[in-house]
Amino acid sequence: MRYTFMRRVRRGGTVATLCATTFALTGCGRTGTESNLSQTALDASMRFADYDGGTVPGGPGAGQGYAIGSTATAEAIATLNTDIGPGGAELPSGSGTVATGRAVYAAKCALCHGANGEGMAPAFPRLSGRDPNAEGFKFASDPKLPHTIGNYWSHATTLFDYIRRAMPHATPGSLTNDEVYALTAHLLAVDDVIPDDATLDATALRAVKMPYADRFVPDDRRPTAKK
């Protein structure tokens, strides 16, 4: 931090110039003449944005906030917050069968994603189908292998969350929870993740394990420069 500060001072000219130009906003005036200005005070004055409660002159003081913004009520948050995490704790009530999902899909999804989820390149992605060449998660070998729900996605909750927030593409947010359960069931059944006679509700969806959930690994890129 001190290093950054020194560089800034050098780039901006003299300390006095900096203090003068930031005078209106900073603690420069408060600490007396410019020449008396302590390094610490100026350092802090240059970094209002680092305010952490009490150490920066000009801030509201220890343990205090700026009190800017308004309280977000529980109701307001509830209308915004629709996300479903991987544990599925937030899943709503409702349910849907594979058979219902097939019908909803034909009515509301097939026009873009194709009757069998085969997609329409390049705009509308393929959703379904487990290419035998991709089984075993061999995607690095061939860019043409399709990343479909059954052979690539790690969590069934993601499908529910995404369909509910983003699909159908032109009229997102228009599906009922029952429809989203049914569509999720249909798309999982097409890719042999769940049986064709399955019904999904919150409990059943939480229990779905995706075939390749264990294939996702953390970032392990390492520096490559020769020392």
Binding site: F48, A49, D50, Y51, D52, G53, G65, Y66, A67, I68, G69, S70, T71, A72, T73, A76, I77, L80, N81, T82, D83, I84, G85, P86, A123, G136, F137, K138, F139, A140, S141, D142, P143, K144, L145, H147, I149, Y152, W153, S154, H155, T157, T158, D161, Y162, R165, A166, H169, P172, R215, F216, V217, P218, D219, D220, R221, P223, T224, A225, K226
Partner: protein, 419 residues
């Protein structure tokens, strides 16, 4: 008026005629009106002598580019897709805001700043909402960073066709000066509970795009920005506010930011599962590979240029890394057999682009120009074959292979991607 007239042949009568032809304006006493004079100036080349001999254009509410310059993004007209920055037409580091690349998943929303808010909730002591006006009352930071789509370079990696341009090879990259409030400041206002380890950022576009971010990034350098290059954000860049996570893949810099939820673990959204994960040859895929790797591209010369004559020229381009400053940029003029340090034009700033140049004498023979960046974290740009060996041709993001340009004896410049 498209006809090209050599400056020497240009007469005052030509200028007037062109004004008439373009605007159909009247000629007053043999002189163009101010308006027609302006279009005469912008419609065709004029030599310095004749430019002095008639009145120039007027002031105007918004500046326009010279009619001799016409940089454009491409492709365009997509709601789910991208437009690329014309890197070959740029100078310096900053991308003009109207040329900043675009990548949208459900079109560009039109958000009224008076009604748009950012709500912070979840594992906080006090859930809060902020308007843009609220944001402006907090202490601001002004910083220069690039934004790059992590799919940038996919085409050049998988299918390095000679006709690719700098725009197509690397145009999902742009650099701006951003103004905003550190996310840390907003989180301190709300009071983050110790259990919070991740946050979810959600956009206010039609797909309510969501990405999970480790909380450390908030305490490090994340910013909620509302301005870009001296003015409020462009709609395509997230107006009225977006998340800026310096050095991290474009998609996670959530535009039209409307909600931040603090939680204990990542949400595993569609944009961190089906997309933005990187398949690897050992039949796994990297997830949460946020940083953009060290990278560079020569933008002049570049395809489809033709170098007209042998002689000296400044070869220049851009280098950048999501892990900090560019420590070194090298240029090869012999296809990678030998490398020489190039000059950084100005100070390399962390997680921003830096322009480099290298003085080169083209002697009229075949040559292959390449550039290779090393960042301060010790990452070096790999060749394409090294990247394929490490990640496989089917890997989907983070393409930072060395690329360049082949110069034919005719001076014709072609993309050289098979490094």
């Amino acid at each position: 008026m498209k006809k090209i007239i050599q400056p020497a042949a240009l007469t005052r009568r030509d200028l007037i005629a062109s004004a008439v032809g373009t605007v159909g304006g009247a000629i007053v006493a043999g002189l163009p009106t101010a308006l027609s004079g302006q279009s005469a100036l912008s419609a065709r080349p004029s030599d310095p002598v004749h430019a002095l001999m008639h009145l120039g254009g007027t002031t105007s509410p918004l500046g326009a580019r010279s009619a001799f310059e016409a940089p454009t993004r491409a492709p365009f007209g997509e709601t789910t897709g991208s437009s690329y920055t014309p890197l070959q037409d740029l100078a310096g580091n900053i991308t003009p805001s109207d040329l900043h690349f675009e990548r949208h998943h459900a079109g560009i929303p039109s958000l009224d700043p008076a009604r748009h808010t950012l709500t912070i909730h979840g594992l906080v002591d006090q859930p809060l909402s902020f308007t843009v006006d609220d944001l402006k009352r907090f202490p601001q930071v002004v910083r220069q960073y690039f934004v790059e789509c992590s799919g940038n370079g996919r085409g050049a990696f998988r299918d390095p066709k000679p006709e690719l341009t700098a725009q197509k090879v690397a145009g999902l990259l742009s650099t701006s000066e951003w103004t905003g409030v550190p996310l840390a400041t907003l989180l301190r206002e709300a009071g983050v509970q110790p259990a919070a380890k991740w946050f979810l950022a959600e956009g206010g576009d039609a797909c309510l795009l969501t990405r999970s971010v480790p909380i450390e990034k908030a305490w490090d350098d994340a910013i909620v920005v509302w301005a870009q290059n001296g003015e409020p954000l462009r709609p395509a860049q997230g107006y009225p506010m977006r998340l800026l996570l310096p050095g991290w893949e474009g998609n996670i810099n959530v535009k039209w930011l409307r909600r931040i939820e603090l939680g204990t673990q990542p949400w595993m959204t569609r944009w961190e599962t089906s997309k933005y994960t990187d398949p690897l040859p050992n039949n796994t895929a990297r997830r949460f590979s946020f940083e953009l790797d060290a990278k560079s591209i020569i933008t002049s010369p570049s395809a489809p240029d033709t170098i007209p004559t042998p002689g000296w020229r400044a070869v220049h381009g851009l280098a950048w890394s999501g892990r900090g400053r560019i420590a070194r940029i090298e240029v090869s003029t012999d296809g990678g057999t030998s490398w020489t340090n190039a000059e950084l034009l100005g100070e390399s700033q962390p997680k921003s682009t830096v322009r480099f140049q290298y003085m080169w004498e083209w002697k009229g023979n075949e040559a292959t120009l390449l550039s290779r960046a090393t960042d301060e974290a010790g990452f070096v740009q790999p060749t394409r074959s090294a990247l394929i060996a490490e990640r496989g041709l089917g890997t989907d993001y983070h393409f930072n292979q060395v690329v360049g340009w082949k110069i034919e004896r005719s001076g014709k410049v072609l993309f050289h991607g098979e490094t």
